[in-house]
């Protein structure tokens, strides 16, 4: 029986090539998208599942309670030692510190190679907690020994060009030499650790880094503390116990710390602590569902419409003894055959578009990731599900056909049924398309709003240039002087970070005007020299700029500080003393700058102080004239390289840095653009199939109308009017849904665009236009045909 079903299915598919093609292409796009989404989700859900003790591994994180709660994936540097010695909850405790984009010099006989790589300073116990096995090492040496390093196999090959790297050395940041004492097996791509160079943590001290100190005085995002708990520990009880640590070690801080144990499995998914935004998974799931649904709707609509043409076959089968269930399963097996082809094509499409997908999401998924039992189960499940979803309804319709009518040719299109269902399904397709178009418009508007709004500082033609740490003021000024003399350079400043580039910023407590207590809120440090205001075009609303001084005596603040302090006129801040960083930075407020957006638009404006603290400066901000940029940059490069021999000249434009704050939004935009286009394309395929059917069904009617004087326009209107009605109904359904979804999304932004009414009109009109184009060809073909020909179809 099954063979007979499949045989007739195959012949039917060949007989109706256009409909088969429409169904296969639509489903293939749906399947292809599902395969990509499967790869994406399975990659993310597999994060860090390879560690032998993963269920006992935790990262200690901090909730900082001030006027608002802050979340840091870190702890004060002294935490690890205290936790290790005071309690017996953990088998191992280890700190790591992530350093990005480090300059690494490798001497190789007569040549010195320079590369920029990320690295991790790690305590040896980190390798007892995590499963990053060593492939080989020198004797029993470990990272407990200063100036030692482990490399992964891949990094060893990259840096030294050979597998045999034990004993070889490299220099980090032109400062410390590290000896390679171990080679680790390559780190899986689903690891939270992406670095491939591991340096002994004790060496961090030589770089004078804050996290190398055993202090409770603050938190650095660079530091992470992992613990491997003994079996069967009560995490809540541990968290409760360690509440005593901040009370003991930070009794006076206004920033009340609460330390939490974050399970390893939570790290990748907790946006609060720097994990991926879970909204992305929902969006992906929803999009996959939408695309498959639209493809299934096509299938259902086209098949249901075709039920009429297959009624004779069904009638005969029934007369010859076929039960309803025979016919139902026969149709389902046809659906299965189509779905199987579509799945094959879908996998090919997914593999073909994998590189673009990887590029969009900055991941490295590969075809090999599909070669496993899980994927096989996934494909079988989705195949069966889609076959059932698509095949059931047409199967039921066909099995209901009354054989007497079918065999006598007395069956009408109404008898095969499904007219209302078909309309409902077409409305569902239009609704999804309208929602996706509105989403694309709103996301695009929000990005434009964020990127093109006045951020309160100048970001155009501004080049940011990293500089080595701990430069003397004289060196800095000399370099600034030489660069400023280059034609095309308008102004130059040395700073810790630019406005709108908050990566290096740090928050600290503030004591205002010798008040006995620190304020409840924190203030962000924006360190820069006297040219900071001028270069970034920050506006002073009162007071003046500070004068250059070897130590901090004068300080600028933003308007937000006045607001936070409850001071209505910014002038009242002038002349007041403020102390930050536990008194490490203090001075008199001499000027108040207009608020500017230091963070992206999801966050509000924080209180900020600007002080001239040259030993912290890490980059130069250079405002250059528009035009001839390449030449100016080349000249700056010459000066820079002259000053910093042994360093790599690299720069970044500030507007790129600001735009990078909206990377997630750009991804959402690309996603909504691509998937809207796909959804509309699949929908159009379905519409094309339906119009083929409708035109066939109404050929005689068209002939009669033409004989009676109807013109081409009337006939086109006859078909489009039906669809336009459905689009308008879809518009009515889609509008509140799209508004709700996008309003929810926009509520994540402190500064946001509004949802314009025309976005909905645009979406509805676009769908009408696309529908008109889709159905025009077939409709016009029959509309301009000789009416006698149409009437002969009878």
């Amino acid at each position: 029986m099954l063979k007979s079903y499949i045989q007739i299915a195959w012949r039917n598919l060949l007989k109706r090539k256009v409909f088969t093609g429409i169904n296969i292409i639509g489903l293939a796009i749906g399947f292809g998208s599902s395969v990509l989404i499967y790869l994406f989700l399975s990659h993310h859900f597999s994060y860090d599942n390879f560690h032998a003790n993963s269920e006992r591994i935790y990262r200690v994180v901090t909730e900082g309670h001030r006027d608002v709660i802050g979340y840091d994936a870190s702890v004060p540097p002294a935490f690890a030692k205290e936790f290790r010695t005071r309690y017996n909850y953990a088998e191992k405790v280890a700190k790591i510190s992530n350093w990005d984009n480090n300059l690494i010099n490798i001497s190789n006989e007569n040549t010195v190679a320079q590369v920029k790589e990320d690295a991790v300073f790690a305590e040896q116990d980190f390798f007892e907690i995590m499963s990053f096995p060593l492939k080989e090492r020198t004797g029993n040496r470990t990272l407990d020994e200063p100036e030692t390093a482990y490399l992964t196999e891949r990094m060893a090959k990259k840096l030294f060009g050979t597998d045999n790297v034990l004993g070889k050395t490299f220099i980090l940041e032109n400062q410390e030499t590290f000896e390679v004492i171990g080679v680790l097996k390559n780190i899986p791509k689903n690891s939270l650790i992406t670095e491939e160079i591991f340096l002994s943590f004790v060496t961090l001290e030589k770089f004078g880094d804050f996290v190398a100190q055993d202090t409770w005085g603050g938190i650095s995002d660079n530091l992470q503390c992992f613990v491997l708990l003994h079996p069967n520990q009560n995490v809540a009880a541990i968290e409760n116990q360690i509440l005593e640590l901040p009370k003991e070690f930070r009794p006076d801080s206004k920033n009340k710390h609460i330390y939490k144990l974050q399970a390893l499995s939570d790290i990748h998914f907790n946006a609060r602590y720097g994990g991926i935004d879970p909204a992305l998974f929902w969006i992906f799931g929803l999009i996959g569902f939408f695309l498959i649904t639209i493809a299934c709707i096509n299938f259902i609509n086209i098949s249901a419409a075709q039920a009429f043409y297959r009624s004779k076959e069904i009638g005969i089968r029934k007369v010859l003894g076929g039960f309803r269930h025979h016919l139902f399963w026969q149709f389902l097996s046809e659906t299965f055959v189509i779905s199987l082809f579509a799945l094959g094509l879908g996998i090919v499409l997914a593999v073909a578009f994998l590189p673009s997908f990887n590029n969009l999401f900055q991941i490295q998924l590969a075809f090999e990731d599909l070669l496993n039992a899980k994927f096989l189960i996934f494909t079988l499940l989705i195949l069966v599900l889609v076959s059932l979803l698509s095949g059931s309804y047409p199967g039921i319709l066909m099995s209901r056909i009354i054989p007497v009518l079918a065999l006598k040719g007395k069956l009408t299109h109404n008898d095969t049924g499904g007219k209302t269902t078909r309309k409902v399904l077409v409305i569902a397709q239009f609704t999804i398309s309208i929602i996706l178009i509105v989403a694309t418009v709103i996301i695009s508007r929000q990005i434009n709003y964020a990127v093109n709004s006045d951020l309160g500082f100048d970001k155009e033609s501004l080049v940011m240039l990293p500089i080595p740490a701990d430069l003397e003021r004289v060196q800095l000024n000399s370099l600034k002087e030489r660069i400023s003399q280059i034609s095309g350079v308008q102004s130059i400043t040395a700073c810790l970070s630019s406005p709108g580039g908050a990566d290096n910023d740090w928050g600290t407590s503030i004591k205002f005007n010798n008040r006995p207590e620190n304020e409840e809120f924190s203030i962000q440090a924006k360190l820069g020299d006297v040219d900071f205001l001028n270069t970034f075009d920050l506006s002073l609303v009162s007071g003046r700029n500070f004068f250059e001084n070897d130590s901090v005596t004068e300080i600028l603040v933003n308007e937000k500080l006045a607001e936070k302090l409850g001071i209505s006129a910014s002038e009242e801040l002038l002349g007041k003393q403020i102390a930050m960083n536990g008194g490490g930075i203090q001075g008199t407020i001499v000027g108040v700058v207009k608020n500017f957006h230091n963070y992206n638009f999801t966050e509000g404006i924080s209180p900020i102080f600007i002080a001239d603290y040259h030993s912290w400066y890490s980059e130069l901000g250079i405002k250059i004239s528009e035009g001839n940029t390449a030449h100016v940059l080349a000249q700056i490069g010459e000066e820079w390289s002259e000053t910093f021999k042994g360093y790599v000249y690299e720069y970044r434009f500030l507007d790129d840095r600001v735009a990078r704050q909206y990377e997630n939004e750009q991804r959402y935009l690309s996603l909504s653009k691509v998937f809207s286009a796909l959804a509309i394309f699949i929908g159009c395929l379905g519409l094309y199939g339906l119009i083929l059917f409708f035109v066939g069904q109404r050929t005689k009617e068209i002939g009669i109308r033409k004989v009676l004087g109807s013109n081409v326009g009337n006939i086109l209107a006859l078909f489009t009017a039906d669809f336009f009605k459905l689009i308008l109904i879809a518009g009515v359904i889609a509008t509140p849904l799209a508004w709700y979804f996008m309003e929810q999304w926009l509520q994540g932004y402190t500064y946001r665009t509004e949802i314009p009414w025309w976005a909905f009109v645009l979406a509805i009109v676009s769908i009408m236009g696309i529908t008109l184009v889709t159905i025009s060809y077939q409709t016009l073909k029959v509309a301009i045909a000789n009416p006698i020909k149409s009437l002969r179809t009878e």
């Binding site: 005969i316 007369v319 003894g321 309803r324």
Partner: protein
């Protein structure tokens, strides 16, 4: 084999109720060949559909081989029909996507007969109907007469007790028509009961008995004296 009493069939639309069969009483004995005649719209096909269990009467009784059929559900009617009844239609009603062999095989598949037995039976009936050389062809590749022979093959492959023929020669030229009628007569002579709806006086002469319907009622019934005269 068939006993019909007071059979009524009405069709109802939103506004009009049409009585297609009105108090029909009919008996068909095993081995009979009965022709039903009458003008278009008199209810011939409706009666044949009810006898063929493709439709249910509105009122009255229909007993087939000892089974009361009226009031049966569709699935029960299908079950009773399987293997007991064979159909021959004016427009052949072969499935275009199946070959000659597969078309004839289909009722046996629904009877869940095993493959080798099916093959044997289909081959035998195709040989008998002299169409075996076309077994791999599709219906569109055959002439009308050949298609009707395939349809008859399909009707008889299950050795049914009753064959229902609805204007079996209506779409055929006279030569092919005679061939088809000869085949039906042959089957009848071998013991198969045949009920045939026809417009053709010539075809009706092949039957033992001719029933004339008018406005849903049997108006005349005549024994055919010239059985086999045309054979």
């Amino acid at each position: 084999m068939i006993t019909i009493q007071n059979l009524k069939k009405s069709f109802r639309t939103e506004e009009v109720e049409t009585l297609a069969l009105n108090s029909v009483n009919l008996k068909v004995e095993d081995g009979e060949f009965v022709a039903i005649m009458g003008p278009s719209g008199c209810g011939k096909s409706t009666l044949l559909n009810i006898i063929g269990m493709l439709d249910n009467p509105t009122e009255g009784n229909y007993n087939f081989a000892g089974n009361e059929v009226s009031g049966l559900k569709e699935s029960q009617r299908t079950q009773l029909r399987k293997g007991n009844l064979g159909f021959v239609f004016q427009s052949f009603n072969l499935i275009d996507e199946l070959t000659v062999f597969e078309n004839v095989e289909l009722p046996l598949i629904y009877l869940k007969m095993n493959k080798s037995e099916r093959k044997q039976k289909v081959r035998a009936v195709l040989e008998r109907m002299k169409i075996a050389h076309r077994e791999k062809h599709f219906p569109q590749q055959l002439s009308g007469g050949q298609q009707q022979r395939v349809a008859i093959s399909r009707a008889v492959v299950t050795n049914p007790k009753l064959i229902l023929a609805d204007e079996p020669t209506g779409n055929l030229d006279s030569k092919n028509g005679i061939e088809v009628m000869n085949l039906l007569t042959e089957l009848n002579q071998e013991g198969t009961t045949i009920v045939m709806v026809t417009h053709s006086d010539r075809d009706s002469h092949y039957a033992h008995r001719v029933i004339n319907l008018f406005d849903g009622q049997i108006v005349t019934e005549s024994q055919n004296r010239a059985i086999g005269a045309m054979v």
